[in-house]
Symmetry: C2
Subunit: 458 residues, 2 copies
C-alpha cells in the first residue's frame, strides 16, 4: 500500500506526465535495484520528465504532498543510492539526454543530466576534445556528478569534482537555481557546485551541467605489466606516482582478477598481479613518461611489460578493465556481489592491499582485488553465495577490517562509490557524529520537508 500522501499526489502527477508516469511493479522494481546488494525498495512510481520545467513541476507536486523524489540516472550505483525506502517518485532522467552546447574555444560543454559519458564522448569525437572522467560503467553525467564519480583517469584529469564548472539545479520546492559559472576559477561565495557534487540527490535535482573538456591527447600509449607479487606491483605504482610521472591511468588487478579477465575478455595475460598503464601527451612526452614508468617497474621486478601500441590493442585492454566487474562475477556462477571501495594515502596502499588479500584468503572467500591505485583507491569484489550466512559474515569481517585499516592510515571508507544507504555507519565512524550532523544541517536547511532522496548519506 502506498502512503496517503502519494495517493493524494498521484492525480497531479498523472495530469503532468500522462504516459510518462508508470506504476507498474516491474518498472518500479527495476528502478530500485542498482548494481549493489542493498535491498530493493521500490518507489511508488517512476517518472520520465523530458525537460527542466517538468522536473520543477514534478518536485512542486512532491513537495506539496511530502512525497519523496529520487533522481535516477543509469542505475549503476553500488550503494543503494536509488532505493526508495519511503516510497515516492523516481525521476528517471534518461530522456533528458541532449548535449545543449559545446564551446570548443573554451573547452567546455553544457549537457542535460541524462547524457551518458560514452554518448558525450561520441558527440565530441570531431571536436578535438573529450570528457575524461571514466568510472567504468556508462553512467549518466548527472549521476556521476551526484556521486562524485572518478575512475581510471582521475590521477591525470581529476574526478567529477574537478570537471564540473557550473550547474542548474531544481530545489526541493521546485525552484530552479544556477551555481557556478563558465570561468575556470571563481571565489564567488560558498562553492555550491562542489556541495552538489557527491550530494547523491539529497539537496536538489541537477537539470543541467556545464562540464570542463580536455584536448584529446595527440599520443596515447598503453601497457600491461605483471609482477611476481602484489607488493611489487603496488610499490612500483607508489614510486611512479611519487616521481611525478603524469600517468593518465594506473590500474591494478590481482592475479585472480587477471585470470577472470583472461577468461571473460579472451586475453592471454600472465596470471600475476598486474598493472594496466596509460600515458597521454605529445609523442616525445609519452615516450619519456613510458620509459620512466617502465624503468621503475623493472626495478620492482616486473616480469612482463607489454605495449598495446595499436588503438585496437589499447581498446581491448581497457575494455577488459571495464568488464572486470562482470568478469569477476563469472568466476562464480550464481554468486552475489559486494564491491568494497576504500582509499588510503599512497604510502599505506601496499599494506592495505596485501592485508585485504590475506584476509580474503584466510577466510577462504572468493574475491578479486583491483583498483585505481594511482589515487590510493582500491576495490575488492566479494562474491559470496546468496543466503550463505557464514560467507556473508566473513565478507562483513574482511570489509570492516579494510575500512578500519583505511581509517587508521588516514584514508576513507569510500574513494568513489559514495555512501548511499550502504555506508552510513562507516561514514559516522570516519567523520564522527558532529561532522555528519553538519551535513544534515545543510540538508535540513535546503530540504526542510526531507523529500529529496531520503535516508541516503545521513
Amino acid at each position: 500500500m502506498s502512503p496517503p500522501n502519494f495517493a493524494n499526489a498521484l492525480p497531479e502527477l498523472q495530469a503532468l506526465l500522462g504516459e510518462r508516469l508508470s506504476l507498474a511493479q516491474a518498472v518500479r522494481d527495476q528502478h530500485a535495484a542498482g548494481e549493489g546488494l542493498s535491498p530493493d525498495l521500490p518507489p511508488d512510481a517512476v517518472a520520465w520528465p523530458t525537460d527542466k520545467a517538468e522536473v520543477c513541476a514534478l518536485l512542486k507536486i512532491c513537495h506539496a504532498h511530502g512525497v519523496p523524489a529520487i533522481a535516477y540516472g543509469a542505475g549503476s550505483s553500488l550503494e543503494g543510492h536509488i532505493s526508495a525506502p519511503r516510497g515516492g517518485v523516481t525521476l528517471d532522467l534518461s530522456r533528458m539526454d541532449a548535449v545543449l552546447d559545446v564551446h570548443a574555444d573554451d573547452a567546455d560543454c553544457v549537457v542535460q543530466p541524462g547524457v551518458t559519458r560514452e554518448a558525450l564522448n561520441a558527440f565530441l569525437q570531431d571536436t578535438g576534445l573529450f570528457f575524461p572522467v571514466d568510472p567504468g560503467a556508462n553512467a549518466t553525467l548527472g549521476g556521476m556528478a551526484s556521486t562524485r564519480a572518478s575512475g581510471t583517469t582521475t590521477m591525470r584529469y581529476g574526478s567529477m569534482w574537478h570537471n564540473v564548472l557550473a550547474m542548474e539545479v531544481a530545489l526541493a520546492d521546485g525552484r530552479l537555481v544556477r551555481f557556478g559559472s563558465r570561468a575556470r576559477k571563481s571565489s564567488a561565495g560558498l562553492d555550491l557546485v562542489r556541495l552538489m557534487i557527491g550530494a547523491e540527490g539529497t539537496l536538489g535535482v541537477i537539470t543541467e551541467l556545464t562540464l570542463r573538456l580536455h584536448p584529446q591527447p595527440t599520443e596515447v600509449a598503453a601497457a600491461s605489466c605483471a609482477f611476481p607479487t602484489l607488493a611489487d606491483a603496488v610499490n612500483a605504482v607508489t614510486e611512479i606516482v611519487m616521481s611525478g610521472v603524469p600517468c593518465a591511468r594506473v590500474e591494478f588487478l590481482d592475479e585472480h582478477q587477471v585470470k577472470a579477465c583472461n577468461a571473460h575478455s579472451n586475453l592471454a595475460l600472465p596470471e600475476l598481479p598486474t598493472l594496466f598503464l596509460e600515458f597521454h601527451g605529445t609523442a616525445a612526452g609519452v615516450n619519456e613518461q613510458a620509459e620512466m614508468a617502465q624503468g621503475i617497474a623493472a626495478e620492482h621486478g616486473s616480469v612482463a611489460f607489454e605495449w598495446a601500441r595499436r588503438p585496437e590493442d589499447r581498446s581491448r585492454l581497457w575494455r577488459a578493465r571495464h568488464m572486470a566487474y562482470f568478469a569477476a562475477l563469472a568466476l562464480r556462477p550464481g554468486c552475489a556481489h559486494i564491491v568494497a571501495d576504500v582509499c588510503v594515502p599512497i604510502s599505506a596502499l601496499a599494506d592495505a592491499v596485501a592485508q585485504a588479500r590475506a584476509d580474503i584468503d584466510a577466510e577462504g572467500l572468493v574475491a578479486t582485488v583491483l583498483g585505481h591505485v594511482g589515487d590510493g583507491n582500491f576495490h575488492v569484489i566479494f562474491m559470496p553465495m546468496p543466503g550463505d550466512v557464514a560467507e556473508q559474515a566473513a565478507v562483513d569481517r574482511v570489509y570492516a577490517a579494510m575500512v578500519a585499516r583505511a581509517h587508521t592510515a588516514g584514508g576513507t571508507c569510500t574513494g568513489e562509490h559514495g555512501i548511499g544507504m550502504g555506508k552510513k555507519a562507516k561514514l559516522l565512524d570516519e567523520l564522527g557524529p558532529d561532522t555528519v550532523q553538519l551535513m544534515r544541517l545543510i540538508k535540513n536547511a535546503w530540504d526542510p520537508r526531507g523529500i529529496l532522496n531520503p535516508e541516503k548519506i545521513f
Copy 2:
C-alpha cells in the same frame, strides 16, 4: 563605545588570554585595514590564540555573549574580509604557525593556519616537495584556504580548492570537528572541505590544514615575451592553453604594468604587452613545452622572447611579478588603489582585457592591467587620488562594465579575491537572490547566532 555584549565577554576573554588580548586602538585599526579600499572598521579587541584549544575557548566565550569573531591571517585581503562592522574579536592566528607533520611518502603535510606559504616552502626545501599555490602575497595558509586563493601557478597545480585534503575546524560554538581525510579522493558524504574553502571565515575557524604537496620539478624554465598589441599577447595565451601545453605559469602585464615593473624592480623589459611564462617538468618535457609556446607566440607576432635560464634570472622575473602591485602604486605617489578581479571563459579574454583597457583610457584613469590569463583571470589596478570624486566615479563605471562583460561572457565577478564586504552586490548580480539565499541558509544553520565574520559574502 563597545556594545554591551562585548563588555560582558571581556573579563572572560582577558582571563583566557591575558596579555595576548589587546584593546589598543592602533592594534585594532591595523587588524581591520587589509590591502583593500573598504572602510576600516576595527574590532573591539585583537586576540592571539596559540593553539586550537584557545581558539575553541575563545569562540565559546564569543558565542555565549553574541560577540563577533573574525579570523585573521596575514591581512593581505583586498575585499574587506577582515573588517569588523559589528565589532567583536579578531583572532590573529599568526602565532599558530607550526608545520605539524610532513608525510613525504604521501606528498602531504599538516600545518597550523598561521603558517605562511613562503615559510612552508622554506620548511619543505630539502624534502623534494613544494606547495604550489602562489597568490603573490605571503599570505597564511589558513587565509588562503578561507578565501579560495589561487594565483600564478593555478593552471598547472590548481588553487587552494585542489590542494587542501582535510582540515580541522572550530565551529561557532567552539566545538572542534574534522573534515576530509588524507586520501587523495573520497566520496564520503557532502564535501565540507570544499565548503570551507572560500567561506571567508563565515562558517568556522580553521585550526589545522592537511595540504597536498607536489614534487619539486626537476627542470624549470621561464621566459618573458613581448607583443605589439594586447590582443596579440592574449590571443597567444588562448592558443597555448587550448593546445594543451601544460604551462606552470602564464602571466600577462600590459605596457603600463611593464613600465611600472621596470622602474620598481630594475628590469629592462620592452614596454609592451608582455607575457611571463614558466614551464616545469623533466628537461625534455620543459624543452618541448617551451618550444611549443615559443612557436605559438611567434605566430602571434611576439617581438622579444627572452629566456630567464639562470635561477637568479627567474627569481628576478617572478619577484617583479609579485611586486607588480607595489610597482603599480609607485606610478602615482599618494594614490588610493582598487584592484579589480574578474575571470572569464578563455575565448572571451582578449575582448574583455581590450575593452577594460579602452575604458580606462577613455576615462583618462591611471591603471594597469595584469593577470593570470591562462585561467581567464585578470586584474586592473586602479589608482585614483583619494577624495577625487570624479575619478572614483569613473573607476566605478569601468569596474562595473568589466563585471557586466564578465557576466555576459559566462564568467565571474571574482576569480580569486573573494566577496568580503566589497563584492556583495556583484555576487547577487552574478548568482541571483535564490542562490545567495542558499548560501545564507548554510551560514544560518551552522552559525545561528551569526558571530563568525558577520556581514561578509551574504
